[in-house]
């Protein structure tokens, strides 16, 4: 294996500025939406006292979950010592930070009082999973930042494995924490399950890798750098394994819930007669986001085809958003069991209605755009990308 | 570069100079009556009236936020410092006899707060005029 040389992207082409301008438009639209929502109040959104977390939270949690997953490539290289992933470590750390920044932006800007964010940093309730998550997110920025420094600075390279292990541990805790936001809500039938936390970890593997693959392929194609099959095929296989694991966890989660008679109502709702949620579950999450990508990644006709890998990654992302929509909004739409053994005639109950509005969607997409802008800009200013990932450079076992 | 710095510094200086003038805020209806009657508002024991007023002016955010936590979180009621008492005395009345919100432009709170550029968050929740039955 030859020495890997990292180099900034040029970032002077028309394409670069067009990309920045396009993403910038999304960010501006998001900021406009925030002003609209915060100025008027949340009545302009589809959210209500029954659906308290809406589309912005779907995007925010997707990005946060994907962020910790995107760090996996670096972890595989440093923690599990797989040399072929080593050249990708820097980009992996960057994508992780960028996705987290985008997700947190969405989460914070949807608060009822975003102007009081400082209180969330000064008043901690250590019994709150949410407060722990604030610490975990800030810590993630710090630890991944240090990790990147260790990787960039030649003198510090020798510490990068240790910091990598720390970062890997931290990200596992972080995603467990994100999953636990829901897992500890005892009152809601859809959420009260310990499996939520590990399921979120596996989801993060799949979503983060899908995002990473897209960023990697796009940046190498647009900067006309060599990207060999050795790396791409490995990432493709890895994505397949992660997508299959998500399907497995989803199956265990729902089977486990069906086994408990008290949760059969919400299971029927999601799986059978929940209207939009049932459709999103089967068509969006399972078929589009699970089975179809698996077919694209493994069937002999499409295996090894980069466009198909790109399509599979896009589908995994769309399926992931559908999955979080079903979990977050479907889980709230189904009423809580206030009086077991009784039917509520008046005053509460029924499936809560939710129609997402344009500002909510724009805020969510703005978070994604922020993540992509951060990546696009930083690879221009710092050498994140190896100048070549051709097979003879990247693959330690390459035989020409 | 240094020229830029000078421009910046003089701009900042002129801002502080503009703020240094002693503008007397619109005290509000009852507070004015109180003053005209020669009564000594905010007078503290062991302190001259002037000193008490300065103390009130400078420390009102601390006094209010200290009391608000005691009231809300520990149920300590009564006492001198109560936001609704501020509102009762320091609101003005328009020509129709209606109370003007105490945080409206040119009213008691906003005169100073706007001048020093400090945001005022009490009235995003608290009532800005005396209660109807007053």
């Amino acid at each position: 294996m030859s020495i890997i040389r990292y180099e900034q992207t040029q970032g002077k082409s028309l394409g670069f500025y067009a990309l920045i301008a396009g993403l910038g438009a999304f960010v501006l639209a998001a900021l406009g939406s925030v002003y609209f929502m915060e100025h008027n109040g949340h009545y302009v959104t589809g959210m209500s006292n029954r659906i308290v977390w809406g589309l912005p939270h779907v995007f925010a949690l997707f990005l946060i979950v994907a962020a910790s997953g995107a760090l996996n490539i670096a972890s595989i290289a440093s923690v599990f010592n797989k040399k072929i992933y080593k050249p990708l470590s820097r980009l992996s750390g960057l994508v992780a930070l960028a996705l987290l920044a985008g997700g947190l932006m969405v989460l914070v800007l949807d608060l009822g009082r975003p102007d009081r964010l400082i209180i969330a940093m000064t008043e901690y309730n250590f019994e709150s999973i949410f407060a722990w998550n604030i610490i975990l997110y800030n810590g993630f920025f710090l630890i991944v930042g240090i990790y990147l420094w260790m990787m960039f600075e030649r003198r510090m390279n020798k510490y990068s494995r240790k910091v990598g292990i720390a970062a890997f541990t931290w990200r596992l805790i972080l995603t467990t924490g994100t999953g636990s936001i829901f897992g500890f809500l005892v009152a809601r039938q859809a959420y009260d399950a310990v499996i939520m936390a590990p399921m979120f970890v596996v989801m993060s593997f799949a979503f983060g890798l899908a995002f990473f693959v897209l960023v990697l392929m796009a940046s190498y194609k647009w900067t006309e750098r060599a990207l060999g099959d050795a790396i791409v095929n490995r990432l493709s296989n890895l994505l397949g394994v992660f997508v299959a694991s998500v399907l497995y966890f989803v199956a265990v989660y729902h089977l486990g819930n069906l086994y408990l008679a008290e949760n059969s109502g919400v299971e029927n709702f999601i799986l059978m007669d929940g209207g939009i949620y049932t459709q999103l579950f089967w068509y969006g999450q399972i078929i589009l986001g699970g089975l179809l990508p698996l077919a694209l990644l493994y069937s002999p006709a499409t295996k090894g085809n980069r466009s198909m890998l790109g399509l599979a990654s896009v589908l995994v992302i769309l399926g992931g958003i559908a999955q979080l929509y079903v979990i977050i909004i479907g889980g709230q739409a189904y009423p809580m069991e206030l009086f077991p053994g009784k039917e509520i005639l008046v005053g509460y109950g029924g499936i809560a209605a939710y129609t997402p509005t344009l500002p909510e969607l724009m805020l969510g997409l703005g978070g994604m755009a922020v993540a992509l802008i951060v990546i696009t800009y930083l690879i221009k200013f710092l050498p994140f990308l190896p100048e070549s990932l051709a097979d003879d450079v990247a693959d330690p076992h390459h035989k020409s | 570069m240094s020229r830029l710095l000078i421009v910046l510094l003089s701009a900042m200086l002129s801002i502080t100079a503009a703020h240094a003038d002693h503008h007397i805020p619109n005290l509000g209806e009852k507070a004015n009556e109180f003053k005209d009657d020669g009564k000594k508002a905010h007078k503290r024991e062991g302190m001259s009236h002037a000193a008490s007023l300065i103390m009130q002016r400078k420390m009102h955010p601390e006094l209010l936020s200290h009391k608000r936590d005691k009231t809300l979180r520990q149920g300590v009621r009564g006492g001198y410092t109560q936001l609704q008492k501020c509102v009762d005395c320091h609101t003005s009345v328009d020509k129709n006899g209606e109370h003007i919100p105490v945080n409206a432009p040119d009213q008691f709170c906003s005169t100073c707060h706007e001048k020093v550029g400090v945001s005022l968050d009490c009235f995003s929740c608290h009532r800005t005029t005396p209660a109807e039955d007053m």
Binding site: E337, L338, K342, Y348 | E45, M59, R77, G79, Y80, T129
Partner: protein, 244 residues
């Protein structure tokens, strides 16, 4: 001005700090000329609670309770909010037993749990429980994240979806923060009953100190079959029901 040496500098700053401290402590020490007395902090020697008897409570009674609450606290007049966006501190609930078909009516509001899930999850300590068991939102700290609303098993909390004016003097409410039944804490602290309890003339709603052996509510709970909503969650609610 002469140069300060290190020793002098420390001496001077100490003096300065000390004088600041004097001023600062002076605030709590100096009293106002005519200082009205402050009440003592509430303690856990009391625990406020309510017993609602669905057998004695008519549907009209429940409407009266809801109206009294709106009147007292000033919610329900939201202009822009629609449907589930409107505030609902207390609501009328009608339930039918699926096995026996028996119908009961009750008023549902914040249950003032001893172990409130909303307080556990609040990241900023805005959701809080007073020593005497009343669960409140400290709106000075609420950032509007709505996690408490996700956690509440009783759908008792509302988020203010729009700008408000003309709030009640004793009940600040504002856009972007969460609110719920306060058990009329401003009245209870004056020794009065909550507005909803006052609105019902019969003894269908009893308010009082759960810990006081001589109180009506303590005596009644001792003698009458009563239940907590979602008792399986072990939250030990302050609001109890009988006849459901």
């Amino acid at each position: 001005m002469k140069e300060l040496n290190r020793r002098e500098f420390i001496k001077n700053t100490t003096v300065a700090t000390a004088s600041v401290a004097t001023v600062a402590s002076g605030i709590s020490l100096t009293t106002f000329a005519a200082d009205p007395k402050e009440s003592d902090p509430v303690t856990n020697e009391k625990r406020w609670g309510m017993l609602i008897d669905a057998n004695k409570l008519s549907e009209v009674d429940i409407d009266d309770m809801v109206n009294a609450c709106q009147e007292e606290q000033g919610w329900g007049g939201e202009v822009h909010s629609t449907g589930d966006q409107k505030s609902g501190w207390i609501k009328k609930v009608k339930v039918r037993d699926t096995a026996t078909q028996r119908v009961s009516n009750l008023a549902l509001m914040c249950q003032h749990c001893e172990e409130p899930p909303c307080v556990d999850v609040c990241p900023t300590n805005a959701s809080m429980k007073r020593e005497d068991g009343i669960v409140l939102v400290d709106k000075h700290r609420c950032i509007g994240c709505r996690y408490c609303m996700m956690a509440c098993p009783y759908d008792a909390r509302s988020f203010v979806h729009e700008d408000l004016t003309d709030q009640k003097e004793h009940m600040p409410r504002g856009k972007g923060t969460v609110e719920s039944c306060t058990m009329c804490v401003h009245k209870v602290d004056k020794g009065e009953q909550p507005a909803c309890a006052q609105a019902v003339s019969s003894d269908a709603v009893i308010f009082g100190d759960l810990l006081d052996p001589t109180s009506n509510i303590h005596q009644t709970l001792k003698n009458v079959q009563s239940t907590q909503i979602r008792a399986d969650l072990n939250l030990n609610t302050g609001v109890r029901y009988s006849g459901i």
